[in-house]
Structure formats: C-alpha cells, structure tokens
Amino acid sequence: MSTLIFGHSRPGRRAPGLAPECEEAIDDLPNDLLRKHPPALPEVSELEVVRHYTRLSQQNFSIDTHFYPLGSCTMKYNPRAANHLAMLEGFLGAHPLAPERGRQGFLACVFELQEMLQAVTGMSRVVLNPMAGAQGEFAGMAMIRRYHEMRKDAGRNEVLVPDAAHGTNPASAVMSGFRVREIPTDREGDVNMEALRAAVGPQTAGIMLTNPSTLGVFERRILDIAKIVHEAGGLLYYDGANLNAILGRVRPGDMQFDVLHLNLHKTFSTPHGGGGPGAAALGVGPRLEPFLPVPFVARSEAGGLVWVEEGDRPETIGRLSAFMGNGGVLLRAYVYARLLGRQGMRRVSEYATLNANYLARELEAAGFELAYPRRRASHECIVTLKREAREWGVSAMDFAKRLLDYGVHAPTTYFPLLVPECLLIEPTETESPETLDAFVLTMTKIREEVQNDPERVRNAPWTTPVRRLDDVRAARELDLAWHPQGGLDKA
C-alpha cells in the first residue's frame, strides 16, 4: 500500500506557492476557542503533494480509464461538455443567497430541468432539492406518510417491498416510520401476485418498486400491481435506479406511480460516488403535489423565475437542506439532458438495453448461466456462477477479483441476494461492441484459468496496488479514522 501524505512529512518543509495570502490578520477570536497547538498537518513540498495525489489518482479504477459494468449503478460516461458548461464562471461565482433577479440564468436551467424530467417521467411536478438519491427516497416516503395523515388515515403503517427491490427501499421506509413487509418474487422474476393480494389491506401505506427490478427484468404486471395497491388505499413509489432501461419509452406516471425519485448521477450522467456528490429529482402525481419539499423553481405572474418557499406551500414536508440541492450537479444533468434531447433520451435506453442483451446472449453462448434465461434483459443482466462454484470451488467474488487483473472493474457481486453466486452486469449505452466482446473473452479466459490453475483465480488480484482486502476483519473491527501519533493536536 502506498504511503499516506503524512508519511512524506518532514519538519519545516513547505509549499508556500500554494498558500493564499492572508490580507487581514484575524485577531478577534475569543481566546478560549483558539487551539493550543498547531494542527498536525503534513509538512511537504509542492512537488511531493503533486506526486502523491497524482499517484493516488492513477491507482484509481474509474470510468475514464476502465470498463465499469457495475450492475445497478449505471456507470456511464460523464460527457466533458456537461462538466465544462457547469463550470462557467457565472455559475461558479454565484452565491445561493443572491437575489433571484441576478440569478435568472441558473434558475432557468433548474426550471427547464424540472420541466424536462416532468415530461420524461409523466409526473405532474418534479423538484430537484434532494441532496442524494437516498434523501429523495426519504422525502418521497415522508410525503406518503403526510398524505395518509392529512386524510386521517393514520393506521396505514406498513410498506410493501418486493424482495427484488433495492436495499435502500426498506431502509427508507423504516426511516420514515413504517413497518416493512416483504413480497416474494416468482420464478420468472415478477412480483408474486398472490402474495401481493394477500398482503394488502387497511394497514397498507404503499408499495416501493423498482421497474425494471434489480433482477434485470421488467415487471410485466405493473398495471395490475398498481390497481391492487390503489384499490387497497395505498400509494405507489417508483425507485428510479433503473430508469436508464426505459428512458423516453415508458413513463412511471403512465405506470400509475404516485411518487418517484431519479438518481441524476445514474441516468443523467452526473459524476458518481467519489467523483462528486449525488443528486436526485423527486417527482409526484397530483395527489402528493401539496406536500413537495421546498424550494423549487416556478414562473411568477410577472414572468420571472422565483424560488417557491415554505410560505408559498403551507402543506410542504419542509426543506431537505439549507439551500436548494446540489446546484453544480443539477447543471451537469441539465446540460446532459439538453445534449440528448427527446430523441437522444430514447437512444439512451435503446443502446443500454441492446448492450445488456448482447452481453447476456454472448455470455450464454460462451457457456455462462443466466439467472433468467427466458427473460429479455433490461439494461443489465445476471450471470450465476453456482456451477463454477460447485465444480471448481471458485466463487463469484474470485471471478470479480480476477477481472481487476484484466483491467475491468468488477460487476456487482452477490446482489440481488435472491440469486446465488451472481454477477450483476450493467454495460450502459456508452460502451462499444469491441469492449463488450473483450469482456466476454476475459470471462471465458478466467473460466479456463479456473479449470487449469484455480489458485491463480482464488488469490486474485495480483496486479492492483492493494491485494485482496480482509473485508470480514474490516467490518468486525470497524475503524474509520486515521489518528496521527500523539493525537490530532501536536504536543
């Protein structure tokens, strides 16, 4: 493992060229709030800083350097144009508290993004204030809760979650004060309708669904599900995690969903994970509109764009953060959506599903077992390696680790939990046929290694900066902080 920046530290070494000049001395802080010792910062030269962080960035697996078929995550390419335009000086220099009249350009971007997402999801209103997908889910469930409360129907304390749902769904339901009831999946990957009919009742607040589901197949009886849940008095929550499969073709609003969140960092290609903060859109049908969180952008009667705040929306569930969501991320999503246009959005789902189905068929032809061979894949497909595990004693995790040696980011492993020894593979629309063919060849090669030299696979990766981590020990002896010797204050 490479040395931490602190390991390069030598007393007195400095990088003065990077430090901003302090124009005014800050000398009015209360004495008891001042620290007694200087902080334990690393003392390094400018060149050492540059080398250290450049080296770290080179060790990273990223979509800019490697194929990244991480299922359920939609690791598509983030176009440079979106980045470039979101970094225009006028956007970067703006303050969130600046008066609306001086921010009409930014407000117009947010407003148009709201409108485009309304059109593509079929919801009656979309807002962009959640700071992440999970917060969008939380806000969506809070609105369902408020809806039932306002109707004096507070006995609805149960949320139905199919077992093919994203793990965040039951978590969001519980965070919002609901009990979760799991609905099983049938053999072909659809919701078990008998179990659903038996589960709904006067206690049902709603159902949370991802469609296509995490099994990589489209829930074919969605309209029947909607009817059953609505007739029981519950609402339908759409988790937009897999929207990339149906973008511009099937609208959640038309599938009768009442509320949804979209992960803009997935479908709308804003930077992912360590590359930037997440962002979500939250959309609702007419029944939940009064409860939407604030602020969002609307056109005033005078024609200008304004923030709609608490005072304008007496029934709102409130604010999700001090300001209005991740502005810089929303701008990237806006540029991406404008670059695509209506036709482009349809092509996204067309190529995302074409790539996934091509990969599924080629892997099947190469002798790998698909979890749902009779179903057409959505934007991702699932391979089960249970035969490889049984016959040669190698696991899906071993395959995943060996892929790293071949310069491929591992697909999602052991998720969904319903499929043993599984790899959930999502190529996205931005990969070429050559990349997909190379992936199938690599998988085939690894299987040959499994038969001839299994230790080579069981002990992979061999070429990465860090070999196989002890994930069990990391979880059992959880330690998230680095502490300098002698504590954070240097004695």
């Binding site: 793990g167 249970k386 052991y414 998720f415 939990l417 043993p420 994930d471 069990v472 979880a475 059992r476």
Partner: protein, 130 residues
Amino acid sequence: MNKLSKDLRYTESHEWVRRDSEQEITIGITDHAQEALGDLVYAEIYPVGKRLDAGDVCAVVESVKAASDIYTPLAGTVAAGNPVLAKSPEIINRDPYGEGWLLKVKTAHPVDLSGLLDAAGYERMLAEAH
C-alpha cells in the same frame, strides 16, 4: 453440503427452532442461511424482556454481504441472548446449530412447533428453490 440437524424444526425464512422446555425455545439460523450470508460480522439480539408476536423480528444478523432479520415463529418474550455473539459473531458460521445459537424465547403459550418444517421438509424446500 448442508448439515441438517434432525432434532430441530425449521422455518421458511431459514431459522431453526428447538423446544427446550414446556415454555421455552431456542432460535438460531440454519447452516444453509449462514452459508448464504457468508462471514457474519455482527448480531443484534433484541433485549431480554422484549415482547414478541409470532412472526416478529427478534434479532438482526449482518454479514459482509447483507443484513438479515430473524423472526420468532412463536409469541413470547426474549429470555436470553447468546452472550458470545457480541465478541465473536463468527461462531454462527462455525457452529450454527450449537454454540452459534441466537436467542431463547419464553413463549406465551405451551410450545407447539407442529406448524414448522421438519428436517426433511426443510431439505425439500431448499432443493426446490435451487
């Protein structure tokens, strides 16, 4: 591959249950469950005295892959949690039917496990699922 104990009863959600006395049962997870979950890193048993209806969650186990709720098949109160689990959750992987037991429940009524699967029935269920 999966070891099954003939003396226990089983649930469809992969718990095993043993009748200890007229009004007490012990609950654990099956060998199949520990194998599917992988290395367990954490187990939370609901506090002693906590009242439970049949089918309620009574414990949560967490592995490097997933967290999973554990349900009691009978109503009652939590009588004891396995004290070893806090320090050594891996005991569930090593000995799921013995030292890796999760909790004891004092049942509200005399113990009746006739609604649960026997070893053969549980085995059949596993075979059908895979």
